[in-house]
């Protein structure tokens, strides 16, 4: 600790462009600070965070010998880092800086009482100065970063992120929980807006990923354990074996022999498959896999080629050390409830996802049929499972409604209508929507084309959604869709339908286990939550864990790839130079005072943050508390529990708090403040 | 010749060249400035005469209201006019003390 005389404090009160100065008299605040011991400079400025404002601080450090800086400004979350940078640039340890929030904590909540707001600002700044007296230089915690990233999810976002990270020179292990790569993109046929073939594009990417020497792919693999922190996560991966060897060449025979038949999830239940399966002929990896959940281990498949099949599904455990984790766990399409728009009630009601598969299965069909009937009229209904309103739609199992927009369905649905129009020109198409959200580049053209192609549009209000009913006997079509159509000024219309397609939205895949393991957050919409949608759109609150793709929210493939690349950039920033920096606000033990009581360990809520360890003291073995700085979040609970005051949080010590509190409650000579 | 004198000579020469290059724009700006000053005179006269809102100042100075708004805004930015309160749906402006 420097001598008292050597401490030279610079204090700065920001006007914040009026945000503070409209209520708080900044000049009076600065004036009240000038006389305080060790305060050598007290200034105000319109905007301390601006370049000019920051220069004031730098100049004072260089020319006035200021060696402790206090700035009263907006909340620390916004500019504390900025000012630490300012101070560091001028050659001072960045932790000899203290930030006082005068905006969110003062001017914004007391703008009706400027006099009191000014007094509060004076007290807060005095507290800041009191703390500044006790600031010590601290070092950022630098840790070696393992240049290895874990990507969870083998869909397009996970693949894209993995490839970008690997090309940057960082090792990647990608785990995919199913036996096959490609995720939802493999279940598409044509991509908008380009009209390109989905699987072809996907396989191009998969090939690049497979070919890259820095990427290891593990299918049938899930995350089952996580410890550690950014730069040094120890992760446990549990991998189910495939059950079938890589070069297995008798798939057709094995599948024919298998007695177990289950709905094929690749086609959303429209077809069935066996317990030894491959979703499509050129799936990657190409070897078929055993569906362990449904396999009865009867061994019938082994009659074709016993050597290639192993029905022992002992899982493999992999332990890896990684520096960062990318969560790319994707989405599942909303499945309508029983009876919702007739789903599950009438066989003629299908989802958009099913319809896409249906058309693919019907590749060479001249006439569209469904369950043997000719399809002449199709009604498509938008916003199923999206844009729900509490009180209008029933809540789901978790008590919530899906109040969000699923973003991709309008364009996807209209693309489907265009495809239908092209392949089956005679089919009548009715599109029932709330708003048409073809917002993206090239998307409006798809809407135009649908309209020009004779798709008939009808518009409902969100709180008066269409009803799907059985048509009266004698009608040509089995169903009718009743809609209050506002394109015809609220007329109630009955639309006949041989097929009803529900444009269903997106839900995140159920990843509660990953959320728990990584300690990341979910938003109200159940998707994974980013720290800040603008400042840090792909980062979670856990340093080192980033998001890619629809795990975060509905988005199309283009947007998922952009997000995945952005996530890769974040990983490269964290790991690229082999070192991560963490802030030093962690607990620190004074071993001389520590009696090894273990109270701190008992109250600590963070894994591996503090432990008692044997230390040799004068030849005797004693136990002392030892903090693992990287795991400690600096919450201070240990400080309150320690009977010997042997532990403190660096940068936020008990003595500093005491000094601040004393300053806040002190009998300040009350200056004349404007009422 | 000293450094300073040399520099001063260069500067004068450069300025002369600049003035030649920008003869047209300088002329244009001068005309613009003259017109601006006339408008300002009319506005300050109207304000001295008691007009406080934009419509009142426009009326008194016989200038279009949108023009008055722009000028009052410009003057307010550079502390030549202050806002003093409201009158109905309009804000009131005045010359700063010491300039009345």
């Amino acid at each position: 600790m420097p001598e008292q005389d050597d401490i030279r404090i610079g204090v700065y009160v920001c006007h914040c462009g009026g945000n503070i100065s409209d209520t708080v008299n900044c000049e009076r605040v600065a004036e009240s600070l000038r006389g305080l011991p060790n305060v050598v400079v007290a200034r105000t400025d319109m905007s301390m965070c601006s370049d000019a404002g920051q220069s004031l601080i730098e100049e004072d450090i260089r020319e006035q010998g200021v060696n402790r800086v206090v700035v009263g400004a907006c909340a620390p979350a916004l500019h504390e880092r900025t000012f630490r940078g300012t101070v560091a640039r001028a050659g001072l340890n960045p932790y000899l800086y203290h930030h006082v929030g005068l905006r969110e904590q003062d001017s914004w909540v007391h703008h009706g009482t400027p006099g009191k707001a000014t007094e509060k600002a004076i007290r807060l700044m005095h507290a800041g100065v009191a703390k500044a007296q006790l600031l010590e230089p601290l070092d950022t915690i630098r840790l070696d970063a393992e240049q290895h990233a874990l990507v969870i999810g083998g869909g397009v976002a996970g693949l894209r992120a993995a490839w970008d990270i690997a090309r940057r020179g960082i090792r990647v292990t990608l785990i995919e929980q199913s036996p096959f790569l490609g995720g939802r993109m493999a279940q598409l046929e044509i991509l908008f807006p380009t009209g390109e073939d989905a699987r072809q594009a996907l396989h191009g990417l998969i090939q690049q990923v497979q070919a890259h020497p820095l990427i290891t792919l593990l299918t049938g693999a899930t995350l089952t354990g996580v410890r550690g922190y950014v730069g040094d996560f120890q992760v446990e991966i549990t991998q189910q074996p495939r059950g079938v060897s890589e070069d297995f060449a008798h798939f057709e025979a094995a599948a024919a022999a298998c007695p177990v038949e289950v709905p094929d999830e690749f086609n959303y239940g429209l077809t069935t498959r066996k317990a030894i399966y491959r979703p499509y002929s050129d799936a990657v990896p190409n070897a078929p896999a055993i569906d362990w959940a449904n396999c009865t281990r009867c061994g019938a498949c082994q009659s074709a080629d016993g050597a290639g099949i192993d029905l022992e599904n002992t899982p493999n455990l992999h332990t890896l050390k990684v520096g960062a984790v990318v969560v790319a766990t994707g989405f599942r399409p909303y499945e309508p409830r029983q009876g919702e728009f007739g789903y599950g009630q009438f066989p003629e009601v299908v989802t958009l996802a099913q319809m896409i598969r249906l058309l693919a299965l019907n590749e060479d069909g001249q006439q569209l049929t469904w369950h043997g009937r000719e399809v002449n009229t199709i009604a498509l209904i938008h916003c199923v499972g999206s844009r729900e309103t509490p009180g209008v739609q029933e809540p789901h199992e978790d008590g919530r409604v899906n109040d969000y927009c699923s973003r991709v369905c309008c364009t996807a649905t209209l693309q489907l209508t265009n495809e239908l129009r092209e392949r089956f020109p005679e089919v009548n198409l009715f599109d029932l929507y709330e708003d048409i959200r073809t917002y993206g580049r090239g998307h409006e053209d798809i809407y135009e084309q649908a309209s020009a192609g004779g798709v008939r549009f009808m518009r409902f209000h969100g709180d008066e959604r269409p009803e799907v009913l059985a048509a009266p006997t004698g009608e040509e079509s089995p169903l009718l869709v009743r809609i209050k159509d506002y394109l015809t000024w609220g007329t109630e219309l009955d639309v006949p339908a041989d097929l009803v397609v529900l444009a269903t939205g997106m839900l995140p895949n159920p990843v509660d286990d990953i959320v728990d393991l990584l300690k990341i957050a979910q938003g109200n919409d159940r998707f994974l939550l980013e720290v800040h949608p603008k400042l840090r759109p792909v980062e979670t609150a856990v340093t080192g864990v980033v998001l890619a793709g629809t795990a975060q929210g509905p988005m199309n493939i283009q947007e998922a790839c952009a997000a995945a690349s952005a996530a890769a950039a974040k990983v490269a920033v964290l790991l690229g130079r082999g070192v991560v920096s963490l802030e030093p606000f962690v607990a620190r033990v004074n071993p001389d005072l520590c009696s090894g009581s273990g109270e701190c360990v008992a109250v600590c809520a963070y894994e591996d943050a503090i432990a008692l360890e044997p230390i040799s003291v004068n030849g005797h073995s004693a136990h002392k508390a030892v903090v693992s700085p990287a795991n400690c979040v600096g919450c201070g609970v240990c400080v309150s529990a320690c009977p010997n005051h042997a532990i403190d949080v660096q940068g936020w010590t008990l003595k500093q708090y005491e000094a601040m509190v004393e300053a806040i409650v002190a009998d300040l000579p009350l200056l004349e403040v404007a009422q | 010749m000293t450094q300073d004198k040399q520099a001063a000579r260069e500067r004068t020469a450069r300025l002369k060249k600049l003035r030649e290059e920008h003869q047209e724009s300088i002329e244009r700006t001068r005309t613009h400035l003259k017109a601006q000053q006339e408008i300002r005179r009319a506005i300050t006269a109207a304000m001295r005469g008691g007009a406080t809102t934009v419509p009142e100042i426009a009326d008194a100075s016989d200038l279009p209201a949108d023009q008055v708004l722009w000028h009052v805004t410009a003057m307010k930015k550079y502390d030549l006019v202050v806002e003093t309160g409201r009158s109905g749906d309009y804000y009131c402006y005045a010359l700063p003390e010491g300039q009345l």
Binding site: N19, M46, C405, R437, G553 | D66
Partner: protein
């Protein structure tokens, strides 16, 4: 000033939010970056806004940290008032870029941004930053949060009277400055040149720019911003505080008569946002939004829209056909109420046109990046490679590649940085990149 050559790993063209984010994401990895911006300050269009959706954060608070980080990053060379003139491939597989620095007539090393010169200058001009509603002077610091916070002279409107020189206490005025060209050598380029707003006079049906109380949405942003020209929401014809404000959606987008058939993507959200802010600023005002479809598609956006409805903002479906005005400059809207099937004429105090985004600069002449059908930069494989152009080592990000909001721009900027970094690692020798020390403070 002398010529100088600069060698970097990546050149970022454009200092708006996308350019800044790409630059930071590259610089944080240790790459040397040059950021070239043609205006006197970085910040682009974003720094002009009031609050941003859907969080309603103050826009300055989101943007200035990035501007400051760019200005101070050890790995970023910030070049303002600079424009790229020429761009050619070089023998090492990189690019040689010719840049022209346009003179400020102010010595930026000496200038402290004190603005005494601005106060002394006699020439008042309409401020482009305030969309013509406010004033600036022939010499000025561009705006209060400009980075760099230095003065610049608009020589086309300067009298060369020398008043600024007289009051400058650090002798920063320098009329001897001239444009000069220098060369940058780079291996990768990220184009973040942004967009243009649809001009307010684009549609004669909407008054052709002649109706005083018909303004565009960016003008309304300035009115809503704390640093706005009037300090209040006032209408331009006479400074009256409006009691009835209407938004015209799709004013310049989804419009075949203008040749702009695409959706500009951001206007529904910004109109809803502005309407919510106006409800706060003018609690007694009626606010109406005339729309075709409400496209609030992003994360948290639909909830934002429903909140606005609950606040009493009126949403009326109908494409405004015509705007006229009466003698008092009160605008009159003619629209078909499609839900009811009748045509009405409604008077309001102020109309805001939700104008769209047009392509900014044509990137073909200099960079050889062709425009797509919509005029924005063509992206050959947009689904899997959203930031890559047809030319190796040239990436495009932000609204240069199409209309998008700030969230999507920031994400795409990260993507462009990732692509550029991967390109640098795989195409160019690593020995050129000298890793710098990990900064003391990690950047946002």
């Amino acid at each position: 000033m002398s010529d100088y050559d600069l060698k970097v790993d990546a050149l970022v063209v454009g200092g708006g939010i996308a350019g800044m984010q790409s630059a930071l994401d590259l610089a944080d990895q240790g790459y040397r970056v040059a950021l070239v911006e043609k205006e006197a300050s970085i910040g682009g269009k974003m720094i002009m806004l009031s609050k941003v959706f859907p969080t309603l954060d103050c826009c300055s608070c989101i943007t200035t940290p990035k501007m400051s980080a760019v200005a101070h990053h050890d790995n970023i060379t910030l070049l303002t008032t600079c424009e790229v003139q020429a761009f050619t491939g070089n023998v090492q597989g990189g690019y040689t870029v010719e840049v022209q620095q346009n003179p400020r007539y102010v010595d930026t090393d000496a200038c402290t941004g004190c603005r005494q010169c601005e106060y002394a200058c006699p020439v008042d001009l309409t401020s482009t930053f305030d969309l013509g509603m406010g004033a600036t002077r022939a010499i000025r610091v561009p705006f209060s949060t400009a980075v760099p916070q230095k003065a610049i002279i608009d020589i086309e409107h300067c009298l060369l009277c020398g008043k600024c020189e007289k009051v400058c206490s650090v002798e920063a005025i320098d009329f001897t400055q001239q444009p000069y060209t220098f060369t940058i050598e780079t291996n990768a380029v990220v184009l973040a040149t942004g967009f243009r707003l649809t001009p307010t006079d684009a549609k004669h049906e909407y008054g052709g720019g002649k109706i005083l109380n018909v303004i565009d949405a960016l003008s309304m942003e300035r009115l809503l911003a704390p640093t706005g020209p009037y300090g209040h929401i006032l209408r331009p014809s006479d400074g009256k505080e409006p009691e009835s404000i209407a938004y015209v959606q799709c004013a310049g987008s989804r419009d075949q008569t203008l040749g702009v058939e695409y959706c500009s993507r951001v206007c529904c959200m910004y109109a809803v946002k502005q309407a919510m802010l106006l409800s706060g600023a003018l609690p007694l005002a009626d606010i109406t939004i005339y729309y075709m479809d409400i496209r609030t598609f992003g994360k948290g956006y639909e909830q934002f829209y429903q909140n606005a409805k609950a606040m009493g903002i009126e949403f009326v479906r109908g494409k405004v056909a015509q705007i006229t005005e009466d003698e008092g400059h009160n605008p009159l809207v003619r629209v078909e109420l499609t839900d009811e099937g009748r045509i009405v004429e409604r008077a309001h105090d102020l109309i805001v046109l939700s104008v769209g985004m047009l392509p900014g600069n044509n990137l073909e002449p200099i960079y050889g990046v062709q425009p797509g059908r919509d005029g924005f930069a063509a992206i050959p494989a947009p689904n899997l490679f959203p930031a890559e152009t047809a030319r190796p080592g040239i990436f495009v990000t932000g609204t240069a590649s199409g209309p998008m909001d700030i969230v999507d721009s920031i994400v795409l900027a990260g993507a462009a940085a990732a692509q550029a970094a991967a390109y640098l690692e795989t195409s160019h020798s690593q020995t050129d990149v000298i890793p710098t020390a990990v900064p003391e403070v990690a950047h946002a």
